[in-house]
């Protein structure tokens, strides 16, 4: 996909010449891409290449130059990389999820179904969010993103801190929802094998510019070495 390809009516997101600066530091420079509806885009790149900053710009949480155009009627589900949480705040997982469903106008049945999908018990949801373990809290964030019938998921390393079987389960879940509900998924991940398996398009943010294309062209040894500045081993598991 060429950076200046024309916006198609079927695209759910169009980004044109996106630049984000923090003072004198330019984190993203002139990034353009679009995401067709019901597909997945993986965002990869070394630490500090601006992956999380890109997501924050996409949700309007950071000032930026350029344009970010979501398709009309898009509902976002966002799983942030981490939340600086006050440990002692008396808000339970259920309070937190209910706030989302109330605003989205979705039902309690939707909520119960989502909790079982992500593997989070009702008991855990009745505890204050500050008292949840890292893995439980991550599942709560995924549940939060999934309730309220989103059309687009923005996942920033959604399985960090989750145990191995849990990771597998969440990855499978996202992939299944993508197919069943026709969701578009934007995923930041360091697991290149996962990206290779699931993503239709890969956006690789490097230290000097970016590249975008199908996994077979972006995820090659030499292309990765250019972007990461060092040899990156890509271990592909065949399933």
């Amino acid at each position: 996909m060429a950076p200046d390809s024309a916006a198609t009516p079927a695209s759910i997101l169009d980004v044109r010449n996106l630049t984000v600066r923090f003072g004198d530091v330019t984190v993203l420079r002139d990034v353009s891409f679009s995401v067709p509806a019901a597909t997945s885009l993986a965002v990869i790149g070394p630490n500090g290449s601006g992956k999380t900053v890109l997501f924050k710009a996409l949700i309007g949480a950071l000032p930026y130059e350029g344009t970010v155009q979501w398709a009309p009627g898009v509902r976002l589900g966002y799983v942030p990389q981490k939340l600086d949480l006050q440990r002692d705040v008396p808000i339970t997982g259920l309070d937190f999820l209910r706030a989302r469903t109330a605003l989205a106008g979705s039902s309690d049945a939707d909520l119960a179904r989502t909790l079982s999908l992500v593997g989070l018990s009702r008991t855990a949801c009745l505890r204050p969010i500050g008292g949840l373990s890292g893995g439980q809290f991550q599942r709560l964030l995924v549940a939060f993103a999934l309730v309220g019938e989103p059309t687009v998921l923005l996942l920033d390393e959604p399985t960090s801190g989750v145990d191995e079987p849990g990771q597998e389960r969440l990855n499978e879940l996202v992939h299944r929802l993508e197919e069943e509900r026709g969701l578009s998924v934007l995923l930041i991940s360091h697991e290149l094998s996962l990206v290779y398996r699931y993503a239709k398009t890969v956006l690789c943010l490097g230290r000097d510019g970016y590249s975008i294309g199908p996994p077979t062209t972006v995820l090659t040894g030499s292309a990765l070495q250019d972007m990461y500045g060092t040899a990156v081993g890509l271990h592909l598991h065949d399933h």
Binding site: A61, L76, Y78, L83, V89, A99, L103, I129
Partner: protein
């Protein structure tokens, strides 16, 4: 003891408790206290112009809330410091503009019966504050856990912050007459801080905080009546005592 005064004060306690829950959960206790001081120059100006002090207080509080909002929007750093400086200065200037008994009343409140302007304002303001907080609680919860997640759930953070600060200003204005400029801030902080120690979820937090505030006002008013003191300082002392007991109870 004057019944209407106490009834109004109790209603004000409900508003202060609900508002205070979010003030304490958002960790803006100090900013909140400082903002309440901005009412004093408003009272001073109103007294000089021979208009109702409440009008002056509301005007400067609303302006102060707008100022805090604008500062939060433009500068990301040291908002607390700016608030501290601006509103302490407001207190100093206000103290110079108001003198004698008027100053003592404005700072610590007084207990004689409210006039009809005050009664009308208090009834309307309690209704607005309580109604809006209950209506907006979901948005407020999301914004306090994570502004980013609130945004992706369709919450306009800028607008919500503006509404929150204006409700805050209104709550302060509610308590000025009875508790005064210096003490009303504490009614937003102490009962909610006590409630937070016992609450395990949002509903408990909101209900307990309102109950604590009303209890402090009622007990404080009765004790103040016995002691022939102005109610404000006694009410705040009762609330603070409640907080101290909560510290001791949790540890034992």
């Amino acid at each position: 003891m004057i019944t209407e005064t106490i009834l109004l004060a109790a209603a004000m306690g409900v508003a202060a408790g609900l508002m205070g829950s979010f003030v304490v959960m958002r960790r803006m206790a100090l900013a909140a206290d400082a903002l309440s001081h901005v009412a004093l120059p408003g009272i001073g100006i109103a007294l000089a112009l021979h208009i109702h002090p409440l009008i002056g207080a509301v005007a400067t509080l609303v302006f102060g809330a707008l100022l805090v909002w604008a500062l939060e929007e433009t500068t990301r750093t040291a908002t607390e410091t700016i608030i501290g400086v601006v509103f302490s200065a407001a207190l100093a200037i206000g103290s110079m503009m108001t003198t004698g008994d008027d100053l003592i009343d404005a700072l610590f409140g007084r207990r004689d019966a409210p006039d009809w302007t005050e009664t009308l304002f208090a009834s309307a303001a309690v209704t607005v504050v309580v109604g809006m907080i209950i209506r907006q609680r979901h948005r407020l919860v999301l914004a306090l856990v994570s502004p980013d997640l609130a945004r992706t759930s369709g919450v306009n953070i800028r607008r919500l912050n503006l509404l929150y600060l204006q409700l805050f200003a209104l709550t302060i204005a509610l308590g000025l007459r009875y508790l005064g400029v210096l003490l009303m801030g504490s009614m937003l902080i102490i009962p909610a801080a006590t409630a937070k120690r016992f609450s395990r979820n949002l509903t408990e937090m909101l209900v307990l905080s309102a109950v604590m505030a009303v209890a402090a006002i009622l007990v404080g008013s009765i004790v103040a009546d016995w002691l022939h003191r102005e109610p404000g300082p006694v009410i705040v002392s009762v609330a603070a005592l409640g907080f101290l007991i909560s510290l001791w109870r949790r540890q034992s």
